[in-house]
């Protein structure tokens, strides 16, 4: 069966926001692997606890690109604490839904942000739960707070 993407997904896929590399990023995270067909890389520039700029690079399907795009929109200008609270479900909702088989793309977007924040904490020398799994790419045992949806 052909998959149905919402207009919102198609809009972000066709004209993604915040694409590229942030040369002066102080938090960079990458999740996924090319073998499975999805890789997301997030670049964050954080000043005074605020995400002042964000960019992404994504290898993946239309929904992987759309989730990256909307996720960067959702956290840009936000305090770090707010970005940490971003769930994959919020990403799905912001896109007016995703086909069931594509929900993992939203999980990847959430994980990419968390990985970038973990890298930020690590660079700042801040020890916390997130910084300890800075290199785990979302595959460690501890709960990343990801909610999978059917």
């Amino acid at each position: 069966m052909a998959m149905e993407y919402s207009e919102k997904v198609m809009e972000h896929f066709a004209h993604p926001h915040n694409v590229g590399v942030l040369e002066d990023a102080n938090g960079v995270g990458e999740v996924g692997n090319a073998k499975c067909g999805d890789i997301m890389k997030m670049y964050l520039k954080i000043e005074d606890d605020i995400i002042v700029d964000v960019k992404f690079q994504t290898f993946g399907c239309a929904s992987a690109i759309a989730t990256s795009s909307i996720a960067t929109d959702l956290i840009k200008g936000q305090p770090v604490g707010e970005a940490l609270k971003l769930t994959n479900q919020a990403v799905v909702e912001a896109l007016d839904g995703l086909p069931a088989v594509k929900v993992h793309c939203s999980v990847l977007a959430e994980q990419a942000i968390k990985a970038a924040l973990a890298d930020y904490y690590k660079r700042q020398g801040i020890e916390n739960e997130l910084s300890r799994c800075a290199d785990c790419q979302g595959c460690c045992d501890h709960d990343h707070g990801v909610v999978e949806e059917d």
Binding site: M10, A14, V19, G20, A34, C36, G37, F59
Partner: protein, 396 residues
């Protein structure tokens, strides 16, 4: 501009097929099994359609059985051969890893029932080698089933040679000719083919009709029980409108086969030459032995579904064997079988042409694909990583 370049998925119904179908729907509505005049008329139309199909394939009328689709024909032929083999203690079948799922899944089911299956290697070009087949055939081999031409990479198999070898060894030979029928010359007698499956909608007939050719003398058994249609072998009232459309479409395709082939091959080769200029692009399938309209590439650093949907936004209908388009985690079994690593197979694109495509359309595709590939690469971390160790072709 709008370009339909997904003819290996399905084709537009031709005027000839549409007229044949409309005529059948409006006028030849009788049941071919009825004794009255409407029945006799329908029966005569069915006879003519069967004769037309047989002529196109170099077969005899009584060797053609109409089915609901190519998948049914594949299932029927393989199931029958396995059953007949088992009755003689032969429980070994030979095939290839790049068959359509209609064949592969039937073989998987047979394996669970105790049959043994050997899948021949297909190498990088997606073509089987006769010496591999020769050494794979055993005393207990009951069937060799090898597709005529592959639907994803277009590789054409040495069907006549495979047929000759099977007959020399006394093994039944079936070929899934769904992609070949109407596009490549077929002569079942000359090519030593015992059974052949085809599907109407791949050569401008409507969907929902196919055929199985089964050589006279092979006591094929019915797949489902019911009435005595198709000489007692395939129960169910014949789908006369679809059958008449398919016969008309195949006749037309075969009458213009060489002329269409020349035209489509020209467009195909132009498209291949143009797309080959894209950096880190590789043609998949055999460069010479390929379906006339089939163009298949992998573009490194990008993912096929994005490529496909971006092309769709540009008005180009194509297809891809990436995992995201298949709805599973793995890319196409065909691309993996020819040895492509997952990450490259994810970036596959198939453009399949027919005789109604134009050179302007090819030019349009050639103006769009390189751009879309570049845009997607520019946002790809995989491409960025590749460029750390390679000179970036997009930078002056």
């Amino acid at each position: 501009m709008f370009v339909y370049a997904d003819n290996a998925a399905t084709t537009a119904v031709s005027r000839t097929a549409l007229e044949a179908m409309t005529k059948a729907l409006a006028e030849t509505y009788g049941n071919p099994s009825s004794l009255h005049r409407m029945g006799r008329e329908a029966s005569e139309a069915l006879r003519q359609a069967r004769e037309t199909m047989a002529k196109c394939l170099g077969a005899q009328s009584r060797e053609i059985y109409f089915t609901g689709c190519g998948t049914e024909a594949d299932n029927w032929a393989i199931r029958y051969a396995a059953q007949a083999g088992a009755a003689k203690g032969k429980r070994h079948l030979i095939s290839t890893p790049i068959e359509h799922h209609a064949v592969l899944h039937t073989l998987e089911a047979l394996k669970k029932e105790g049959f043994e299956v050997t899948l021949l290697p297909v190498y990088e070009n997606g073509v089987v080698r006769l010496e591999d087949l020769k050494s794979a055939i055993r005393e207990d081999t009951c069937l060799v089933t090898v597709m005529y031409a592959n639907n994803e990479i277009g590789s054409v198999q040495p069907i006549s040679e495979i047929g000759a070898l099977c007959h020399e060894k006394g093994v039944l030979f079936h070929t899934d000719a769904v992609q070949a029928a109407g596009h490549l010359p077929i002569n079942v007698a000359a090519q030593h083919i015992d059974m052949l499956s085809l599907s109407g909608h791949k050569f401008h007939a409507p969907k929902g009709v196919g055929a199985l050719y089964c050589r006279k003398g092979i006591p094929i058994q019915p797949f489902m029980q019911g009435g005595g249609q198709e000489r007692g072998k395939r129960a169910g009232t014949e789908a006369l409108p679809s059958i008449m459309a398919m016969a008309a479409a195949l006749e037309e395709s075969c009458a213009h086969l060489e002329e269409n082939r020349k035209k489509v091959e020209y467009l195909r080769d132009k498209l291949i030459a143009g797309l080959s200029k894209i950096p880190f692009a590789r043609l998949t399938g055999d460069a010479a032995n390929r379906l006339p309209g089939l163009v298949s590439f992998c573009f490194e650093g990008i993912e096929g579904e994005s490529l496909l949907l971006r092309l769709d936004l540009a008005g180009i209908c194509a297809s891809s064997g990436s995992a995201c388009t298949s709805g599973s985690l793995d890319p196409s079994h065909v691309l993996l079988a020819i040895g492509l690593p997952h990450e490259i197979a994810h970036g596959s694109l198939r453009l399949s042409l027919c005789e109604s495509n134009t050179e302007e359309e090819i030019d349009y595709i050639l103006s769009e694909v390189p751009q879309v590939v570049r845009t997607l690469r520019e946002m790809s971390p995989v491409w960025a990583r590749m460029m750390e160790t390679n000179p970036d072709p997009y930078k002056e």
